[in-house]
């Protein structure tokens, strides 16, 4: 079967299990196979900029806009969002459980020097975390290697590490719900508007990369932001919890 | 070549007569029987010389006596008991192709002595003595594996001698030695023998067999075809194979040994 496109995406999206849910529906309808390459956000954008992919599907809005501005992408569309949460050990050493104020929670973590595991990899998630830290006024990276641990890894690896050392971790909700190694960690902080996580989709620019399968890729982009695609995304649930909230219509 | 000077008779007259013997020994590899039904007795304090054509099985028989190969049939008795690890420690063997460690000449001797628990000053003394006897003193620090063929042979004999075994198994020890070294080694073997060391030795040199043998055992095609006192076998060989060997003729028949040839 020769009709396929390559989708450059991120590990957190792949790890959430979303693609296993929506791609078969798309393929049934169009006969187009979507081949997902799931790597770090930066690597995904870089790969797409090299022309090694037909569609980019990540969650780093400013970087995506830069990608389009540099002519690598045709146009970016919002697709869906979910939110970030701070998970922590059940005994809650920083005493932040139940808080809805992420900035205050982080301030308490810094004050109590409770361990905090950061991805430290310039990913979308990491950028959100850094924004929150700067709102606290605490220079967490100064404590790097002490209570503040930069794992320099993907979401899953950071969760594995953070959980094993009893640390707080900022993660996207989808990955967390789908994560198999939760240990005794639970969600400590959620519901802060600053922990909003927007996903976007962009067709790689065939004018820049002539071999890009613009037609097939466009079909995928169109489908994802169509009512049908959006409904399929909304339909993805684990244990009754919805993981992603489609918002293509709202923004586009 | 002159006969070697006679040595005093062995001082161990009270020891049992037979040091090692085989009974109906057979050995095979890859489906062939290479040693067939060999029964031989090696007398204590005597020098037994094994002769026979290339491929007759002389080296295999030495290996069997030394316990390096497991017999396929028959048995080997050392002082009347089955051959064991202790028996091998009382033997020393010089292989047809010297096997030397990738070390200096002296280190090769040191290694063998250290295995037998000799160390320190005693070890140094015996290394020096062995080097002296093998006339390898000037090569003590040379890597053993660049020695000439004859020097390697001498080193490997010196190594065996320095272990003070009860039985010395020698596989063509002087094959690549010059005439002077040959005589010297023969003298050393005789000297050891005079101190009570029993000798089993393989040679292709009829002259050497004459000089060295108390007993002769003649192998042909893996079988023992003739054994007896050296004079008798060398001057009056009974088997056609031994006759042929002594006169330098080829003998190819596969024969069954005449009855009653066990030594």
């Amino acid at each position: 079967q020769d009709k396929f496109i390559i989708l450059q995406s991120t590990t957190s999206t792949e790890n959430s299990g979303l693609f296993d849910h929506i791609l078969p529906a798309f393929q049934d309808k169009t006969g187009i196979q979507v081949r997902v390459v799931a790597v770090g956000t930066g690597q995904a954008i870089n790969n797409a900029a090299n022309g090694d992919g037909d569609v980019l599907f990540v969650h780093a809005k400013s970087a995506e806009e830069k990608f389009v501005a540099e002519g690598h992408g045709v146009q970016r569309f919002d697709v869906m969002y979910n939110d970030f949460v701070i998970i922590g050990p059940e005994n809650d050493p920083a005493g932040i459980r139940g808080s809805t104020d992420a900035v205050e929670a982080l301030t308490r973590i810094a004050k109590t020097e409770a361990p905090f595991a950061s991805r430290g990899d310039d990913s979308g998630t990491h950028k959100v975390e850094m924004a929150l830290w700067s709102a606290t006024g605490v220079d967490a990276t100064a404590a790097s290697g002490k209570w503040y641990r930069e794992t320099g890894s993907g979401m899953g690896a950071t969760l594995n590490t953070g959980i094993a050392m009893g640390a707080y971790v900022l993660t996207d909700r989808a990955t967390w719900i789908n994560f198999g190694n939760k240990g005794n960690h639970v969600i400590a902080v959620e519901g802060d508007a600053r922990m909003f996580n927007q996903y976007g989709i962009t067709l790689v620019n065939p004018a820049k990369h002539p071999h890009v399968k613009a037609d097939l890729g466009q079909q995928f982009v169109d489908w994802v932001i169509s009512a049908e695609g959006q409904a399929t995304i909304a339909d993805y649930k684990i244990n009754g919890q919805q993981l992603f909230y489609p918002n293509a219509n709202a923004s586009n | 070549m002159p006969e070697v000077v006679p040595f005093p008779p062995t001082q161990h007259a009270k020891q049992p007569q037979t040091l090692i013997e085989t009974r109906s020994l057979s050995y095979g590899a890859t489906g062939q029987t290479l040693i067939r039904d060999v029964s031989i007795k090696v007398q204590h304090g005597k020098r037994t010389v094994l002769i026979g054509a290339n491929g007759a099985g002389k080296s295999l028989l030495l290996r069997l006596l030394h316990g390096l190969l497991p017999p396929q049939a028959g048995e080997i008795l050392w002082r009347g008991k089955p051959l064991d690890r202790a028996a091998r420690d009382a033997q020393a063997m010089v292989f047809q192709k010297p096997v030397l460690l990738r070390r200096s000449v002296a280190a090769n001797l040191r290694f063998a002595l250290s295995v037998r628990g000799v160390s320190g000053r005693e070890c140094r003394r015996r290394v020096d003595e062995a080097l002296e006897l093998a006339r390898l003193g000037h090569l003590a620090h040379r890597p053993a594996r660049v020695l000439s063929g004859g020097e390697q042979q001498r080193l490997s004999i010196a190594r065996a001698l320095t272990l003070n075994p009860d039985l010395l198994l020698l596989d063509e020890p002087t094959a690549s030695l010059d005439p002077a070294a040959t005589l010297m080694i023969e003298e050393q073997i005789n000297y050891a023998n005079a101190r009570g060391v029993s000798i089993v030795m393989v040679t292709h040199d009829a002259g050497q067999a004459r000089r060295m043998a108390d007993q002769i055992a003649f192998l042909h095609n893996g079988q023992l075809v003739e054994t007896g006192p050296a004079d008798a076998v060398l001057n009056n060989p009974a088997s056609p194979a031994a006759k042929a060997w002594l006169s330098g003729r080829l003998y190819t028949d596969t024969i069954t040994p005449p009855p009653g040839t066990g030594l």
Binding site: A38, N47, N50, D52 | -
Partner: protein
């Protein structure tokens, strides 16, 4: 998690209920790895044999580089292969990125130095024995290399198996050039990495054990063939 024992026990359960997807992944793993190792042997053994046999100026420098290349980081190999095969790279027109062929190429780059460096040592040891006789017979370069490889073949099997082990266990390079695309370039190791990142440690371990069982099977087959050959032959 109630401890290592339980995890291992769960893992064994998963091995038995092997399903179609898993078989596909296993098959691709074997195809990529075995192809890569065979190619690496075809390239690496003659290079190793030549270096083990002939002296030339600068030989020691070549050996140092070759030995160091055994420490080629898979990620670096993956990156270099990626930069060559990428659409904007020199070989982009071939369209090999994110295909099993790309994974084979990356593994060949990774394993060839290992095969060459280890076989160099094995052949050199044999050559110390053969050298003068070969010189004396006037054996030509090619014939001499072939003869040494042939006569050292049982020892070289271990070298090939070392290369196979490295290729089979490798993930860093193949994930970059293969992309770990489901049903296309997903192999055992990339699946294990994926499941680990999902926190499914049991599943990851189970897959790891399956991978080891596969490696055991290949090794047993190779040693079996070897034993049969040795029995009827020329030690």
């Amino acid at each position: 998690m109630s401890g290592f024992g339980t995890v291992l026990w769960d893992a064994f359960g998963l091995i038995i209920r092997a399903d179609k997807d898993l078989l596909e992944i296993i098959f691709l793993s074997l195809r990529v790895t075995l192809t890569a190792v065979i190619i690496a042997c075809l390239i690496g053994l003659p290079i190793g044999a030549a270096l083990g046999t002939f002296r030339f100026p600068g030989r020691v420098a070549v050996l140092v580089v070759l030995n160091a290349l055994m420490g080629l980081p898979p990620v670096v190999v993956g990156l270099v292969a990626y930069l060559w095969l990428s659409a904007s790279g020199p070989l982009g027109v071939l369209g090999l990125l994110y295909t099993p062929t790309a994974m084979i190429i990356a593994q060949v780059m990774l394993v060839t130095p290992i095969i060459a460096a280890l076989s160099r040592q094995v052949i050199e040891d044999l050559n110390t024995e053969y050298a003068e006789q070969m010189e004396s017979l006037g054996v030509g370069i090619r014939q001499r290399i072939m003869a040494l490889i042939w006569d050292a073949r049982y020892s070289l099997l271990t070298v090939a198996l070392a290369g196979f082990g490295r290729a089979m266990a490798e993930v860093g390079a193949v994930i970059i050039v293969g992309g770990n695309i489901n049903h296309v370039t997903r192999v055992m190791t990339t699946t294990i990495a994926l499941e680990t990142s999902k926190g499914n440690l049991q599943l990851a371990l189970a897959l790891g054990i399956i991978l080891l069982v596969l490696a055991l099977g290949i090794n047993a087959a190779v040693m079996g063939v070897r034993a049969t050959a040795v029995r009827s032959a020329y030690a």
